[in-house]
């Protein structure tokens, strides 16, 4: 089975632990049987008055000693098998993470974060339980049954045979119960999540609920769902609640059966080799050891089944292949790039939808290109091609004359600084965020598939940050004053446990982050939309010091942003409809000129508003 064989390399890495653990399970299960033997002997000695006080002390001490042994072995089992399962849990999580860092944009566009998180939490737990509990319990059940029956047969093969007849019935019944419990439990959980989903829906849609005055209907619906939950829970408790009592009943019945038969043997009223009370006691006490393993069989099945289907889901992530990666066509000798961009008849399709259509474009190193157009016109797609987040459906993207697909990804991206539309900042300090891509060379990657036993923890990577460079980048991005106002300056934590920046501040942090890399190609995707015009002007003048040295692609809507570009491209529905300098496009009197006129009017309206404010 593919699922099995794909799990094997992980198990193989911890084979020694599993082997030692399983051996210990076996020995522990043998040691546990010494206790009943000692008690049986003691009873015989007491019944037939052959015991001495000193002998009794000896037996009592022997009893404690065997438990020390079996307890010690059980401890060993947990520290081998359970530990191995938790180490594999770590290894699988590590390997999936490593694989995720290689997957391309198209994967993350399709996958939902929630789903990936569920796999990495719930599914991984299920696999871990299978690797720990199932492995151990399979070994446990087998050895308990085997060793116990050896002892039972040794005491009285007739009684043992009797047990062998009733036992399978009990196992079948308990197995059936365990399966039923699992099925019904899943049903309860399903209803629980439905109820949570309902609550979520109601609370987030409370405006509509109140607006349409349907509170009563909502309450009624919620209560119906809760009624169903009660029904399902009671359905579950009918099989789960009495499980303990049922087990006790079954073991009681088994005890009575051997009491009737064994009692007859002791008293010599039934045919067969007579036995002593001590042997009978040993028999009864040994029999008790079987109760847990009988319960466990059903559980093992449930956990293993769940574990495998979870493993299947994890395997999908673990085996997912990146769409964009280095191939045999990649030329590793390419190191230095100037930034001459060329798009030769490039089209991008998403299914039926044509995001870019037959684009031709040449950009010389050091040029600044402005790009504008309505939403969905393909601006972002265009710059994503250059950063090779996506590949063209047809045509070629060239950098310094090399097809992008022949340039090593790392090398390409080393030369690019990109500020996306909605920049993503990490829950680190401001300085760490700005220095995010600095230092060029990356830490060597973590190798997947290696046992944690043979891989020492990585040295915490050098967090030394070139603060001068960070400050310089922040200065150009117009962020320096904002940082000075933060509680801990550059060391202020951002995100969940820290400060929340405004949209404009986030954009400028992302800009500083891109600038700090000294990129040869700088891509700004509407990265100043949340910044006011005044700050924008400041940033632009700062950027001018950089602009000469690198190729800049600047997506924007504000004419004030675009006008300084060497060339402005106007996109519409994936097509390049106008291009030229600010003056050329104004003279053309097309869409760009229209945009310019509207913005001029808007700013006059703003000024008027301010003026009226002064009056009122």
């Amino acid at each position: 089975m593919n699922l099995m064989s794909s799990l094997w390399p992980y198990v193989r890495n911890h084979l020694r632990q599993y082997v030692v653990g399983i051996a210990a399970v076996w020995l522990a299960n043998i040691a546990v049987l010494v206790g009943p033997y000692i008690i049986g002997r003691a009873i015989n000695a007491l019944q037939f008055r052959t015991a001495t006080p000193l002998g009794l002390v000896g037996l009592a001490l022997a009893l404690v000693a065997t438990t020390l042994l079996s307890g010690g072995l059980t401890l060993l089992v947990r520290r081998q098998i359970t530990v191995a399962s938790r180490q594999i849990d770590y290894e699988v999580r590590r390997d999936i993470f490593v694989n995720l860092t290689h997957l391309s944009k198209n994967y993350f566009d399709r996958a939902s974060t929630g789903d990936l998180m569920n796999r990495l939490t719930g599914d991984l737990t299920a696999v871990r339980e299978m690797l720990g509990f199932s492995f151990w319990q399979v070994a446990n059940v087998l050895t308990v049954f085997l060793s116990t029956f050896v002892v039972l047969f040794a005491i009285s093969w007739r009684m043992a045979l009797l047990v062998l007849i009733i036992l399978p019935i009990m196992v079948v019944v308990l197995y059936y119960l365990a399966r039923q419990i699992d099925l019904r439990y899943v049903k309860v959980q399903e209803q629980n999540s439905r109820i949570s989903a309902k609550a979520q829906e109601n609370f987030s849609g409370i405006r509509v609920v109140k607006g349409y005055a349907i509170e009563d209907r909502e309450v009624a619906e919620y209560q119906t769902m809760n009624d169903e939950l009660i029904r399902r829970s009671m359905h579950l408790v009918r099989v789960e609640g009495p499980l303990g009592a049922f087990m006790s009943l079954l073991m009681g019945l088994a005890y009575v059966v051997i009491l009737i038969y064994g009692g007859g043997l002791i008293l010599g009223v039934l045919p067969g080799h007579p036995i002593t009370l001590g042997s009978f006691t040993q028999f009864a006490l040994s029999l008790e050891r079987l109760s847990w393993p009988m319960l466990a069989i059903g559980q093992i099945t449930n956990i293993t089944q769940r574990g495998f289907s979870s493993w299947g889901r994890l395997l999908e992530v673990l085996r997912a292949k990146p769409q964009i990666h280095d191939t045999s066509h990649t030329d590793p000798s390419l190191h230095d790039l100037e930034g001459r961009i060329e798009l030769a008849d490039v089209s991008v399709h998403y299914g039926q939808y044509e995001a870019l259509s037959h684009i031709h474009l040449k950009v010389e190193p050091g040029q600044t290109i402005g790009i504008t157009g309505p939403t969905g016109s393909g601006k972002t797609t265009l710059v994503q091609l250059i950063a090779r987040l996506i590949d063209p459906s047809s045509g070629k993207v060239l950098l310094d004359g090399h097809d992008l697909r022949t340039i090593p990804l790392k090398t390409l991206r080393e030369h690019i600084g990109m500020v996306p539309q909605e920049p993503f900042l990490f829950s680190e300090t401001v300085a760490q965020n700005i220095a995010f891509g600095m230092g060029g060379k990356d830490q060597p990657e973590i190798l997947p598939g290696i046992s944690v036993l043979h891989s020492p923890p990585p040295a915490s990577f050098g967090t030394e940050i070139d603060l001068d460079k960070v400050r310089q980048a922040a200065q150009i991005a117009g962020l320096a004053d904002d940082i000075a106002a933060l509680p801990f300056g550059y060391d202020t934590m951002l995100g969940e446990r820290g400060v929340t920046l405004s949209g404009g501040q986030r954009q400028r942090t992302a800009l500083a982050r891109a600038l700090a890399r000294n990129p040869h190609i700088l891509i700004l995707d509407e990265s100043m939309s949340a910044v006011d015009t005044e700050t924008e002007a400041k940033i632009l003048s700062g950027l001018r010091s950089v602009m000469g040295t690198c190729t800049v692609l600047l997506i924007g809507h504000r004419v004030s942003t675009l006008r300084h570009a060497d060339r402005i491209l106007v996109l519409e529905r994936g097509r390049l409809v106008e291009q030229g300098s600010h003056e050329e496009l104004l003279a053309l009197g097309g869409r760009y000129a229209d945009l310019e006129r509207k913005q001029r009017m808007a700013s006059s309206l703003d000024q008027e508003e301010e003026a009226s404010e002064v009056h009122s």
């Binding site: 003691a42 019944q47 008055r49 006080p53 009794l56 037996l59 009592a60 009893l63 404690v64 059980t74 401890l75 947990r78 520290r79 938790r86 180490q87 849990d89 993470f97 860092t101 990495l120 939490t121 109820i195 609550a199 829906e201 609370f203 849609g205 509509v208 109140k210 607006g211 349409y212 005055a213 209907r217 309450v219 919620y222 209560q223 809760n226 939950l229 009660i230 009671m234 408790v237 609640g241 009495p242 303990g244 006790s248 009943l249 009575v256 009737i260 157009g373 309505p374 991206r413 990490f426 995010f436 990356d442 830490q443 990657e445 944690v452 923890p457 809507h557 509207k598 009017m601 309206l605």
Partner: protein
Amino acid sequence: MTQLRPDDVFSKSFDWSLTKRVFGYLKPYRWIVTVTLIAALLIAALQPLFGLIQRAAIDRYLAPVGKVTLSNQQLYHGLLGLALLFVVLKGAEFIVRFAFSYSLEWIGQKLLYDIRSDIFGKLQRLHLAFFDRTPVGRLITRVTSDVDAINNFITNGLSSLVTSLFLIAAYATIMLSLNWRLALLSFTVLPVLYLSTTYFRNRLRDSYRETRLKQAVVNSQLNENITGMMTIQLFNREGRNQVKFDLVNRALMAAMLSTTKWFSLFLPTVQLLAQIATALVLWYAGEGILRGNGVTLGTLFAFIGWIGQLFQPIQDIANVFNNLQAAMASSERIFGVLDTEELVRDPEQPVPLESFRGQVDFEGVWFSYDPEVGPDTPERDPRWTLRGIDLHIQPGESVALVGATGAGKTSVISLLSRFYDVQRGAVKVDGTDVRSYRQRDLRKRIGVVLQDVFIFAGTIESNLRLGNAEIPLERLVQICKYVGAHDFIMQLEDGYQTEVHERGAMLSTGQKQLLAFARALVQNPDILLVLDEATSNVDTETELQIQDALAKVMHGRTSLVIAHRLSTIEHCDRIVVMRKGKVLEQGNHQDLLARGGYYAKLYHLQYESGALVGD
């Protein structure tokens, strides 16, 4: 998903008033509670009997004490009698234990149901401002894990406390009465058991907590890395972030291994203690048998069984306090919600309401979302959202509200539905203050069309009806045809019975909007409020359909529309231009254009055709 919640921090240990309130929920079920208690008592009373039977079997028949007068055959018959009794009692025990766990679960479920209903019902009555302030996630926690914690405390904690005490009493009684010396000797292990169980439970609780904490760190890093993966790749950070993640992943593993460490010590320790107790009994009772001072083999056998069975209740009691702490913290939070004051309330004697003519009057309305702002707050305070709005709308008139973001358009609409109460002035419908009506009467007669339609999980039909079962399906279809939603509904897999839900991307924005109009018409309101959001990703055909539908629903009704489309505005009888919480100018489209004021400029800027309108 495991998340780091303040719930993990137990502040309260025990609070009597909270406990009393939780117990209040048990009151309606006091008979079942009584039954459960009786069952618990019976279980406790039955349990030691099995040892007694085994003792009798040994002492009377298998290894008879003293002079034997019966034949082996007679002895065996006696044994069979005891075996029968054993089976009968086991059967009885099974029935009682079944009854116990069944009724306990029943109580737990009812409790869950009642507390949940209370919270959910309370939340339906609470004012909208409460929801503006409280994140949805926190409310979900109240109706899920907090309620579970209380349920867990009652069905696991409290019940095992009671049954454990019963059991301990029963075993102690029988053991002491049979042989108090032997009993006391075997009890010496129990305090050690209690202490070591408490010790290990605390260690385990700490390492579970540590594991949860580390899991939360791992999860938040995972979440962040998955969301920001493109940034990581663009900045060549794969290696460094792998290392960073590896460190927290290892920390999680270490925390889990520490749990394993304590657990692997815990169970063998308990086993060892149990065996020490057995050894003590064996030694002491054995000596007694040898000396012949009345101790029998049966007593020895029974004691070995009983002392082992005493272990479980002792361990359970040691565990009760963990449950208790969690339940206290949860009930405190739950009652916090239940005790929140409802700020928008129905009047004692509401004005009866059949339908509205549709006259709407805003009279000197001052409003702020800030709860601190009162009627006496000075007018220049920046927290005012509406500053003295006077607006009078005649029955059947349609009014478009126009203005920049933050002008107060949405507030005007929210006040008419009485989502909030005004601080000064009054909002009147048909000449009566909205605060004099029952909220639901008022809102039943006022239809709201939010164009970002909220879809409830259910069918298209149930989303149109919104619980009103009286409307015939033909009418629904008729309305959908009228607004132009019928065609696309019929193209769905199951037509009107197609299952939809909020997160389902099955319906396009335009389709959702048409559905919203249909929904409003189905309710047949007297006054219509429309939030007409600007939508960019709708194709021209749908756009025309929406415009058409809007005109249809507004027809003949008092309508108040927050307008973004020129076509919408042109359909309205009157245009009200708002700015910074005040009415700036009003009139019809032509008049306002002719005046050349703020509206005229706004119009030229936003509504004149052009492909490059900023998005």
